[in-house]
Structures are given as C-alpha cells and as structure tokens.
Symmetry: C3
Subunit: 275 residues, 3 copies
C-alpha cells in the first residue's frame, strides 16, 4: 500500500542522495527528482554523467517513489552529448573509442526504454541532441516557454539516436520529423508541443510551480495502477524500441569514424574554444 512505501521523512522534506557529482538526485514525498548538475557546461552529458544517469534511473526504478522526474539546473535543460567526449581518445585509438562509446550509448538508451515507472521530463530550458531525442521515451514532457529543441545531427556529420528515428515519425509524422532529424530544424516550445513531442508548455515564470503542483497531485494516485498502465503502453513497443536502438547504434559507430563527422566535430570544438 502507499502508506507502507512512504519514506521516513517529514512531509515536504526532501532528501538528497549522496554520491553523485554530475547530478543532484532528491526524493520528496513520492517523487524522485534527477537534476542535471553541470550548469556551467549547459548540462552537457559527459561520460561520467552517462554513468551516473544510468545509476540514478536504476535506483529510482527500485526505490519507493511513484514518479521520476528529470530536469536541469540553471538556464539549460541539457546541451546533449558533451562533444569533448569525442576528443578523449586513448591508446586503443579511434575504432576502440567508437566501439566503447556505442556500447555506453546503447546501455544508456536501454535504461530509458525499460524504466518501469511513469517518467516525466521538466524541460526548463534549451535541449539539444540526445537530450531532445530521449524525450520520445518519456511518458510526459512539460516545457518552459524558454525551452527550445534542437537536433543538429547532420550539421555534425551524425545521425539520430535515442530511438528518435522511430519515435519522432510516430509522434509528429514523417514530414515534421525528417525536417528536425535530417535537416536539424530547431523548434520552439510551442512548435514542439504542437508536434506532440511536448505535452504542455508553461510560462517560464510559473513553470516550476505549475509543474510541481501537478506532479504532486499525480503522485497521490494509486501506485500499482499507474505502474501497470505504464507497463501496458511500453510493452506494446518495447521489443521494437530495443531493435531500433540496436540499429541506430550500429549506424552511429560508422558515423563516428567518418571524415564528415570528425571534421565537423573538430570544427565545432575549435569554434567553441575561440569564444
């Protein structure tokens, strides 16, 4: 029952999980909040953050919470994959690096596919790359009107991941999805909402208050019913999503070793440094 599962904290109190550097993970009532915590890096996802996110999701899937919320600290939700990940090539060389990166990516995306509880994104600001594509695997996506959604894969010689080659056409239709995934069109929050990627947009000034009021109400609903509903919906495409993730990762490994991508990423990073 829900009374058995309440944690021994005071009402309204929030407990912070120790051991995370790139995230702040807190529990309040029946909600686990996972917050990206590299605000000075626009919450870019470096290798450490990939690992910590997988740990935080695994822990949240097993704790007493009813809902899990992912959000960002500071102005950005997340600027996506930290491109300096690419420059950290060790003795094994480029091919070894690409292989291990793809393994990490595959496992990371699988954590979202298989997350067993309702998963909510509170997109507080701009989202880029994998921070956008993964939204197709969330159950509900609330966005501030300051949020934007940008997937410049082609610009970097890369291709879509996070199952977006499947989820985005399903959500918004091919004609809207391909413009975003192939041509890298950036969407406003309103556009992302009209296309179905975002559930609802709130004014930035009231975003936190409105979202958390709503989530606290939802967290009071019967826990098992919500979990069975989530399982019912996800089971209908779990197998497909895993197959898509495999297929995307297979293709990405080739892209990461391509001249197109190596040149585009190097050019991007040198522009960043010169700012």
């Amino acid at each position: 029952s829900s009374s058995e599962s309440s944690s021994p904290v005071q009402p309204g109190a929030s407990s912070r999980s120790p051991g995370y550097e790139t995230l702040v993970v807190t529990s309040e009532g029946d909600i686990t909040k996972i917050m990206f915590n590299r605000p000075t890096k626009k919450n870019a996802v470096n290798t450490q953050m990939y690992h910590e996110l997988m740990l935080a999701l695994k822990t949240a899937s097993e704790d007493d919470s009813i809902l899990t919320v992912v959000t960002g600290d500071g102005d950005y939700y997340s600027s996506g994959n930290d491109l300096t990940n690419f420059t950290d090539v060790h003795s094994g060389g480029l091919e070894e690096k690409a292989k291990s990166s793809v393994t990490l990516l595959r496992n990371f995306v699988n954590c979202f596919i298989d997350f067993p509880k309702p998963l909510v994104a509170a997109v507080n600001g701009p989202a880029v790359g994998i921070a956008v594509t993964l939204l197709g695997l969330f159950d509900v996506v609330y966005a501030s009107d300051k949020a934007t959604f940008h997937t410049p894969f082609s610009q970097l010689g890369l291709i879509p991941e996070g199952c977006s080659s499947y989820t985005f056409p399903k959500i918004m239709g091919t004609a809207k999805a391909a413009e975003v995934l192939i041509f890298g069109k950036k969407l406003t929050a309103a556009e992302a909402c009209a296309r179905g990627l975002v559930t609802e947009v709130f004014p930035d000034s009231t975003f936190q208050r409105e979202v958390w009021t709503r989530l606290k109400t939802y967290a009071k609903l019967p826990k098992n019913a919500m979990r069975v509903s989530k399982e019912l919906l996800r089971n209908l495409e779990r197998e497909k999503l895993h197959a898509v993730n495999e297929e995307e990762c297979r293709a990405i490994q080739g892209r990461w070793m391509s001249d197109e991508s190596l040149n585009a990423v190097a050019s991007f990073l040198s522009r960043q440094e010169s700012l």
Copy 2:
C-alpha cells in the same frame, strides 16, 4: 447498387428498431443511428447496454445502411462504464465476476474493431472512460464544443482499455497519450481535436445540424468504395488491435480484483450516493 439497398420508407422518414431499452436505434436514408438512451444516468453503460450495443452493431453491420453513427441522448455522450456493474457480485464471488466482466469487455471491444462500415461518433457532450477510449476505433469523431474527454483510470485503480494503450499513443504521441491514460488529464473538445482524437469540433448550438448535413452528403457516396477503403485501413491493424484488446483485458482482470481498485470504486460510489 445503391437503389437496391434503399429501404421502403419515405424520403426523410426515420424508422425505429424495436426491442432496445438502453438505446434508441433508428434508420433514416442510408444512415443507422445508435443513440445511448439512459440520459438520467448520464448514459452510463450498464451490462444490458453492453449487450444491446453489441446487438445494434451486429445488426447495423448487416443492414442496408452505408454509415453508422453513435451518439448520446441528453447532455452527456456517455459517462462510461456504469460502476454499479462492479457491485453486482453474485454467488460466484469476485473472481467469477471479474472473469465474466472481462469476457464481456473483450467481446464488446471486438465489435468495434471488426465493424465493417464507416463508423462515426457524434459526441454531443462529456465522454468518460470507455466512451472515450473506444473513439480510437471510430473512423470519424465529431464533437460539440460542450464535449469533454476524461479517462480517470488511475483514479479508480484501473487501467486503459478499448485498445487505447495502442490507439492513443499512435494518434497523439506518447507524451500526450500518457498524460491522459496514466494521469487522467481531462481534455476539452478543442484539446482532443488538436491531439487528433477528434476530427472536428462544432459549436453546440449548430452541432446537430452541421454534423447531420455532412453525414447525409457522405452517405450518398459510392457504398462499396467506402466499404473497401474502410476494410483496407482496418486490415492494416486488425490483428494488432485484437492482440492489444487481449492484453488489456488480461491486465484489467487483475486490476478489478486489486485492493486499490476495490477501495477506489467503493469510495467513488459512496460519494455518488451521498450527493
């Protein structure tokens, strides 16, 4: 030919099918209209109505009509499953009741999956629960601007049915569908239309006139072409829909016997009685 299939009634005349208590079934021109007829109960679907609806759909699938329209009498379209169905537990006890209810539900939903002619919903007012989820199996859904769409499954410890765990994410994308199906967010007619669940919304004052003018025009189109088109579209997902219906029914049986649901439904009914 269409002249062979016209019934021997005067133009504009309407004939009422005998033998229904919870429905009013009429034929006018080439349109069969099935109207929920429990207005004092907000057209809640009790066991008798489930059986009469199955009979009415079977009859309409075999009569000379070209279109079939489902609508409600009074202010409501339908408040969904009549929850007093749950309290009618006979000697066999709860498990027996849950089993027979699930069999009824499965057969009922199958009638909508397999209905062979264009099926139109004229949603004249609020729709709740299964009256909403089934809309995903209609070909066209017209709504009054007084209609609302509410699926409070979790609130009752229950889960989605009517193939909505498949049709709703397909229609509106996961981020919009899960808010409705898992969190029970109520939609206005305009919201349901923007999400694709509703084809078009009309002002309540002109709803009946505009919808019936349009339907009478459509009913004059070549009959076999429309039937083959409907078959073509439905065949692409008939097998999937049956599998989803099975899966939902399997999960629902467990929910109906759960403490969460028994408590939530009892609480709902006692609140209703005290009104």
Copy 3:
C-alpha cells in the same frame, strides 16, 4: 567527399536535363528539381508522366545531387491521376487495362518508397489524389498557402493508394485520416499542416524564395550523414510500405473494374468536357 561530387557548372547556374516532355528536370548546385510540366492540364499525371517521373527519380537517385525536390509549374501542384488514362482502353479490354495500370502504379509508388536521398515536395498549389497521397512518402513537405489537398477517392468509386492507407493514419490519426481518405474532405494548407501532412506553410508571395533559401542551406549539410539518416528512418518501415502498396494495388484493380467506378469516372469526364 562533397567537393568531388560538385558538377562542373558555374555557381548559381542551372542545367536542364534533356528528354523529358511532361517534366522539367533541372540541377542547380546540389539540388535536383523535378517539376511537373503540364500546366494547361493542371499537371495531371498521364501515362507518359508516370514513366518520366520514374526515370527522373531513378536518375536523381544516382546523380551527384544531395536533395531532390518535386514541384509543379503554374497554378497547380498536380491534379493527380489523369482520368483520361482510364478511357484509353485498347484491344485487351478493361481487365487487361486494369492489370497494366496497376502494375504501373505499383512500380511508380515503389520509386518513392525506395528513393534513397532526402526528398522534398514544394507544393505550389492545389494537389489532388495521388499527388496528395504520395506526400506521406516524402521527407519534408513545404506548401504555399494557396495549396489545397483533396483525395476524392470515394467520389470516383475508388480507394486510397500511394501507401496513404498506412501513412495517413500514422501521420494524423484515424479520425482525421478517414475523413480525408474515405469521405474525401478537402484540406486547406493550414489544416494539412496542423494534421502533420505538411511540414510548414508559407505565404504564396514569398513561397518560392523562402523554400529555396532554406533548401540551399540544407543542401550544404554533410551529404552522407543525411543519406544515412534517411536510410535509417525509411528502413524502419520499408518492408511495411511495400506490403501496403501491394495490398492497395490488389484492391484498386477490383475497384477500377467496378460499375461504381466506371460510372463515376465517366460522369466526371463528361462534366469536364461540357465545361
């Protein structure tokens, strides 16, 4: 590399491919433009144009271009299948004609399913029938606000093709798709955009300028990345699309030989002649 693939023309220069009568096919920079060229016939697709379009798509798939754009000359995008195709019945008679027409249709649609590069439609004006349904197989669809989208299949005793029985419900949901495909509801550009069939609508006065500015920018993106992205998205449903095309063609053959269709088409053509 992209420098290897640039053609030996001056920047901004455009070269016209010889040998087409019903199309104008030009290459400029990295874009191949295929323009319907029967403006006095509202760009209706006659048998010759079906064959020339297949040739143009095959050629574009193998040339050095990065993007391929399909558009129409004059006021119309295309009024769809030229119904005089139906009246051109030779000695083999009706059944032979239906068979050969279905073979042509199947092969024609397959060219769109299997086109390997990003494919963009610039819908400059009204689109009818197969000119509409095929849009579900394009990657991006830009439309002038003077464009309309009309699929009067039932009106002609016919049924949907171009994989629209699959793509349209996926893009816009059943309730919106069936009104268009079964009842022949005509959509404005804004409606088609809200339903996801169209990516974006531009004012007619600036349509050409805005679309081509955007396409020229997109054509500068890394070529292989875009091609792999397109392949990734299309491979997820290529098999399904071919199966749908088969199924539609099988059903269409029956319709073309039906009294409903023969009468409706004859009636349409005689009304056209009397104008």
